[in-house]
Symmetry: none
Subunit: 185 residues, 4 copies
């Protein structure tokens, strides 16, 4: 692992523990066992570390969601698959998920999404419009659909990480189906 990766890894951990402001250059350097100065050899500023880390994490997430081409499925199966991918990603990468949450709720966040993610969202929007026309999908903005599906996956994953058993005896597939049906007509 090179030094940039070490800095990213350490920052990810610290933001989970202390938040964005609580993650200081001094803390990063101490935990990573490097000098504060050297951080500025690899990054121009603390902000740059945070922004680049977010970009990396967002790309990881987008890659996971995309990996089985959900857009080729029927609208319900598409959302179910995305839901399951999101849930699993969050459980397996909970520090990344927490980081995304914190970042997006901070002044750092300027709605700058990665190209990969934007393209995916555009294609999903198109699919949505078609489904709305066909009378399969409720007429809702994509942000609302996300709030009703993907966002719920994240919340449930968060409960999982807190040590709860958020699904109990229900299977992931059943949960995904129940939740995704709420956006259908």
């Amino acid at each position: 692992m090179n030094k940039k990766e070490i800095i990213f890894k350490t920052t990810l951990e610290l933001v989970n523990e202390f938040g964005l402001i609580g993650t200081t250059i001094s803390k990063i350097s101490k935990r990573a066992n490097i000098s504060p100065g050297i951080i500025y050899h690899y990054f121009n500023s603390k902000d740059e570390i945070i922004h680049q880390l977010y970009k990396n994490v967002e790309e990881d997430f987008a890659r996971e969601i995309n990996k089985d081409n959900p857009l080729n499925l029927s609208i319900l199966d598409c959302y179910k698959q995305i839901w399951i991918s999101a849930y699993n990603f969050c459980i397996q990468n909970y520090k990344k998920m927490v980081f995304i949450e914190i970042y997006q709720n901070s002044p750092y966040f300027k709605d700058c999404i990665s190209t990969a993610r934007r393209e995916f969202l555009e294609m999903l929007s198109k699919k949505n419009e078609e489904s709305i026309m066909k009378g399969e999908l409720k007429d809702l903005p994509i942000e609302s659909i996300y709030a009703m599906t993907g966002r719920v996956a994240i919340e449930l994953a968060r409960l999982h990480i807190k040590g709860l058993n958020p699904l109990k005896s229900n299977s992931i597939e059943d949960m995904a189906e129940s939740i995704c049906r709420s956006i259908l007509i």
Copy 2:
């Protein structure tokens, strides 16, 4: 309005504008037209202001949710009514809602809930268990149910505040119903 209330009101505004860290004692004192020193007569620390404000806001929220005794209704109607109350509360008190969001995504948040809210949740839990027994409700922890219903109301309200039209042509009642059905069997 007494001085404590002035400090709470000012803090609520400033956190909406500048975030928790950006809300300094100096800013509070300037906007509230009081001296920085006197704040420490009413509170032991900045953290105490934040925590107490959160508690107050959470209680306001709980009070609103409770006001029409939703627990007396059928399980679906109960959740629908809670959902609608939550959605409306957030839209009508968006500064409080933003504060809650910021607080819960910060290292300040330590899952400490208010007594009023705890009592309500306990009663709701009991109702849930009965419904699960009756085969009406999915067997899920209350936190998951909240994630699938109330949390979604807040997310949609947030979109409303951002200027989107999150429900489009759908009525609040329909949305509440669709979403709350996802927790039923």
Copy 3:
């Protein structure tokens, strides 16, 4: 002496000893026996201290030069009087003079001169033009005239402060006359 004046006085001393960059907030606070933080109660930045101090010092200098209305005299007597005033000011306020020199040779200096000084220079320019027309004064820009007269006063005063006897047996009046004659035809 109030705290702002103490900060100015300390800064003036330190700039004489260590230059503008070498004069740190930490050094100021130590020598003035105050905390670093309080400096920012009176000034917004280190730069503001430096700029305001320069403005004050420049005004002191301009006041001294103006005090006997040299502009009412003949051109030679006018410059002689200015010369003598400048020389005496520098000898009596050598720290201020050194500060002016350092400031004007630094990136801090943005040719922003005080209103009082600008007005004086405009009136002096007018007097110069008249004298040039009358064939009394060499046709030179005012900056050159300053370089040939006032600037020399400062240089000689600097030698005085270094412990030399820069005029030896020559009187100030004779020196002023010899030097100021160099700009006459």
Copy 4:
């Protein structure tokens, strides 16, 4: 050009652009296309580069002043020739002149003059004493004479570099004569 010379040349340029403090080892290494580390093979410290560069530049200046043996001339012609040489040197080597100005107005400057310059000054002093004895020259220390003549040449050259026309219609010879006459009886 060997590496030491490259470092000197680069430093001269950078000091003109950024000042002494703004000229960092990092900037020197980047502009000179060498590593920061190797600079410490040729010099012990940044300060040493600055001091040696100053010494070199001062010697260049002294060499130029000396080149036509002004000491063999009459006292007035001697000073006129020195004056003209200084003025021309500054105009033709303005980066060196700016460096000298910056250096002498910085805490780096410790009045350490080069051997070449010292020898020249000693010979000039001797010539001065003879002229004072003969009643041709004012009884002044050599530093004062420099302030009244050579220093003025530099100031006027500086104005030339700033874009002014410091002599206007006056010839260099006339200016040199007017100024140098101020030190004669």
